[in-house]
């Protein structure tokens, strides 16, 4: 590397202090902005979740009134879905590593990138405001189902406007990434020479771009319904509440893939590095990302098996839902095959990746029960669903995020964290997580409905277990974050390539310089070229 290397963290730009961050157009700084914001929202959301768990520890009123509880699960949902998991991996690690992994200096539109972050913050502030304004937090659930959402007196308009703005931010990020992948790849890097994380981000970006407008217009219709009574979703005026569900899930089902595809991408980066082995079935993994993104658009109706859809629609959606399970299965097979005859180094990122695979398998396999119409009828709208999507979203996306931060933190900050504490935190997270969510599967099958403030006493054993798990989980998160902060503050200096990885980010110093590459990066035919 050249002698005049200055890391992007120390680089002096036009602005000083905080303004050098919030007006930065450098993709790495924007990634940090997203990371700090998302981490804060995640903690708020987690605390709200914990409050709900405390409420549910015994039947009847424990610490709050039903209205507060209904507000809590709505807010928890809005924060976690729209402000944490949807932007999560793609806005933080996508922003930081997508350009580096394809050998670019920045994303295609740096200013637009900053604008996306500002929109994200504006939306988030509105979302928080909807909790605090006069009429009280929205109590519709994050799904905003009409006609309840058009009749309740709470701040639904503020919350939906927030979701609309957050969606717009997500669209612009996706747009930026697609153009970046098409136009900014280093010379010689063909599509099939890209590492698999950029592949996943690319597939995700398409979903962001094409699915989000539909929910955008739906939310505007909902607002117009409340303001003018346009009647699209109001049965008294000839409208159809089920149409809202169609429109909502046309976006929100693909949105699940916005959350999980980048997670799969991260895991696909981590496993070969710690096995020191070429990833098994590169093309199959790349193409299955696109397949998931594509078919993911066509299965939204499996959220609506009990809504009174036509039999034909239930048949169609069930069949397609089962087929979309296959590409995910292929990815798991490929990950495990990559470990075969590798030289496995059990460092914290790899431990997180293993936990991810296990939890993702549980989430995915329980998804089969939801894909099948007969069994879905039984568990729809029960805590089984709650458990299932937390296994996918938290166990999947969340653990992938933790894996990613442990994997890339040395590159991002140039510092190393303590492995022992990280491992302890990982194991505690894993135990707490399973204690929290697994019992919900069991009582869900027995019929415990979700979004219930109160419940029959026969379900209490599971609720107590879950609450204990919740406490362990939150403590483990705090332990993990503390360890990372200590690492960043006082940790040892990280070398350029601490894990002996082969992708482009490990060929530049830690932390990277402002323009990432001083000379044109060397592109290998296969990004995972271990000797």
């Amino acid at each position: 590397m050249s002698t005049e290397y200055i890391s992007f963290l120390e680089h002096q730009g036009k602005y000083k202090g905080i303004r050098s961050w919030i007006f930065a157009t450098d993709h790495k700084r924007i990634a940090f902005l997203y990371m700090y914001a998302i981490a804060s929202f995640f903690l708020i959301g987690a605390i709200l979740g914990l409050l709900m768990r405390i409420e549910l520890i015994s039947p009847g009123e424990t610490i709050m009134k039903p209205q507060t509880y209904n507000g809590l699960f709505t807010v928890h949902g809005i924060i976690m879905i729209f402000m944490v998991v949807i932007p999560g991996l793609s806005a933080v690690f996508g922003n930081f590593f997508l350009p580096i992994l394809i050998g670019a200096k920045d994303v295609a539109f740096p200013k637009l990138n900053l604008f996306s972050w500002w929109l994200f913050m504006l939306g988030s502030i509105l979302a928080v405001a909807s909790q605090l304004l006069k009429s009280g937090p929205p109590d519709t659930g994050w799904t905003f189902y009409a006609p309840y959402s058009t009749t309740t007196g709470t701040n639904v308009i503020t919350a939906t406007t927030a979701a609309f703005i957050l969606g717009f931010s997500s669209i612009l990020t996706g747009l930026n990434f697609i153009v970046t992948v098409h136009r900014m790849r280093a010379p010689g890097m063909k599509f099939f020479n890209m590492p698999l994380f950029p592949w996943a981000i690319y597939a995700t970006a398409w979903i962001q771009l094409l699915a989000t407008p539909v929910v955008g217009i739906t939310l505007i219709m909902l607002i117009a319904e409340r303001l003018f009574g346009i009647g699209f979703f109001n049965p008294d005026l000839g409208g159809d509440p089920v149409l809202f569900q169609h429109l909502f899930w046309i976006y929100s089902h693909p949105a699940v893939y916005i959350m999980i595809l980048p997670a799969m991408g991260v895991i696909t980066e981590i496993i070969p590095t710690f096995c020191q082995k070429k990833v098994y079935g590169y093309k199959a993994i790349a193409m299955s990302s696109l397949a998931i993104a594509g078919v993911g658009f066509l299965v939204w109706g499996h959220h609506m098996y009990t809504s009174g859809m036509s039999e034909q629609a239930r048949w169609f959606f069930s069949l397609l839902t089962f087929l979309v399970a296959v590409p995910s299965a292929i990815k798991v097979f490929n990950w495990i095959s990559t470990m075969y005859k590798g030289s496995i180094d059990m460092k914290p990122p790899f431990l997180f990746a293993l936990f991810f695979i296990f939890l993702f398998m549980i989430g995915g396999l329980t998804g089969l029960i939801l894909g099948s119409v007969a069994t879905d009828i039984q568990v729809h709208d029960t805590s089984f669903i709650v458990a299932h999507f937390h296994y996918i979203i938290f166990g999947g996306m969340g653990f992938a995020f933790f894996a990613a931060i442990h994997y890339w933190l040395p590159k991002m900050y140039g510092k190393m964290y303590n492995f022992t504490r990280a491992n302890i935190a990982a194991v505690a997270l894993f135990i707490g997580f399973n204690l929290l969510y697994f019992p919900q599967f069991l009582i869900g099958i027995q019929g415990m409905p979700r979004r219930y403030f109160d419940y029959p006493p026969r379900f209490q054993w599971a609720q107590i277990t879950s609450t204990i798990g919740g406490f362990i989980l939150v403590s483990a998160v705090i332990l993990m974050i503390t360890n990372l902060i200590i690492g960043v503050r006082r940790g040892a200096k990280a070398p350029a390539n601490p894990w002996n990885g082969t992708t482009l980010e490990w060929q530049i110093p830690s932390p990277p310089s402002l323009e990432n590459f001083d000379e044109e990066p060397l592109v290998k035919e296969n990004p995972y070229d271990y000797k």
Binding site: P66, Q67, N70, S135, G136, D139, T140, Y148, G153, F228, G229, P235, D236, D240, P241, C275, Q276, K277, Y280, G281, K283, A284, T306, S307, G308, W315, S318, F322, L323, A325, V326, I336, K341, G342, S343, I344, M346, I357, F358, M361, I362, L365, L368, I369, G371, S372, V373, A374, T375, I377, Q378, H380, D381, Q446, P449, R451, F453, D454, P456, Y530
Partner: protein, 305 residues
């Protein structure tokens, strides 16, 4: 859980067992392989990774097998579900009326009950109606669940097979007292059912008051009672002409509930909030209750002494 409480249990549970079986098989197999690899190929024992070539055969095999498996699972899931849409023609018809946050069951002959009493071994078709928002008709023990969507005539049916008491939950989130929207399902013998039905009072004639209809259509009675009970908002009983302490812009004042006050409370509910009730719970009904209907509403209030 796997007792044959209704005719659907077997179909649904077969699909359950099958999918669970496949799921557990894969989970255990893949986890075991993963753990074995992690131990066997640990850096300490296996210092150098062996690069292996991709095998197209293997990829095809592990694409085909899951496809076949999911198709089998799909088939059983569908077979378990289809009978749920095929209600026998001679099934007893029960009308289920859902409103915030109460279930009412209407039997042939205009007889209404809060408990779902049903005879054993007889097919019964539940015709689902909602008066306000979406509710969910769910009896887990019978493997029955269908949303109750306003303006849409959903139905479900089943045939109870075991005498006993079961829970009926509202499964679709419907607001404040969602978790208290429960009902009891009692399965009894045919004779006992006949006796019970004969003793059930015939439903009162529909209240023909215009004002009542307007309020009912707008779902007012889910928060306001007419019998003096406090639900979410104050009761309507004896409201007209009574005196109340209200908060207006943070100032408490005592008012008489006249027609102007009632109209303000409907059109701009957060202006004067009765002391002891939270602000912001009720939304404005401007545009939903027309100005020309207001006198009818006021007249109705006058009848609630």
């Amino acid at each position: 859980m796997f007792a044959n409480n209704s005719n659907f249990v077997q179909g649904v549970d077969t699909a359950f067992y099958l999918i669970f079986g496949v799921a557990i098989f894969f989970l255990v197999m893949l986890t075991t392989i993963m753990i074995v690899f992690v131990i066997k190929y640990n850096k300490k024992r296996h210092a150098h990774a062996v690069q292996i070539k991709d095998s197209s055969t293997l990829e095809i095999v592990w694409t085909t097998i899951p496809i076949i498996l999911v198709l089998v699972m799909f088939y059983f899931g569908w077979e378990g579900f289809l009978p749920m849409r095929r209600a026998p023609k001679d099934a007893m018809q029960v009308k289920v009326i859902a409103k915030m946050w109460k279930w009412t069951f209407e039997y042939p002959g205009m007889k209404q009950s809060d408990t779902l009493m049903l005879p054993i071994n007889r097919a019964v078709k539940m015709n689902l109606f909602s008066k306000d928002v979406i509710h969910g008709f769910s009896i887990p023990s019978f493997r029955v669940k269908e949303d109750v969507v306003p303006g849409k005539n959903n139905y479900t049916w089943f045939e109870p097979k075991i005498i006993g008491n079961y829970d009926l939950f509202c499964s679709a989130y419907c607001g404040l007292s969602h978790s208290y929207m429960l009902a009891l399902v009692k399965i009894v013998s045919q004779e006992e059912f006949d006796k019970w039905l004969a003793g059930l009072p015939v439903k009162k004639a529909e209240d023909n008051n215009e004002g009542f209809k307007i309020l009912e259509k707008n779902g007012c009675f889910s928060c306001h009672s007419t019998d003096g009970r406090k639900i979410v908002g104050p009761t309507f009983k004896g409201l007209y002409g009574s005196k109340h302490d209200v908060m207006t812009d943070g100032v408490t004042r005592n008012i008489t509930a006249d027609s102007i006050y009632i109209e303000t409370s409907i059109m701009d509910p957060n202006k004067d909030v009765v002391v002891g009730y939270p602000s912001g719970v009720m939304k404005s009904y401007k545009g939903l209750i027309r100005d020309k209907d207001m006198p009818k509403v006021i007249d109705y209030f006058k009848t609630l002494k």
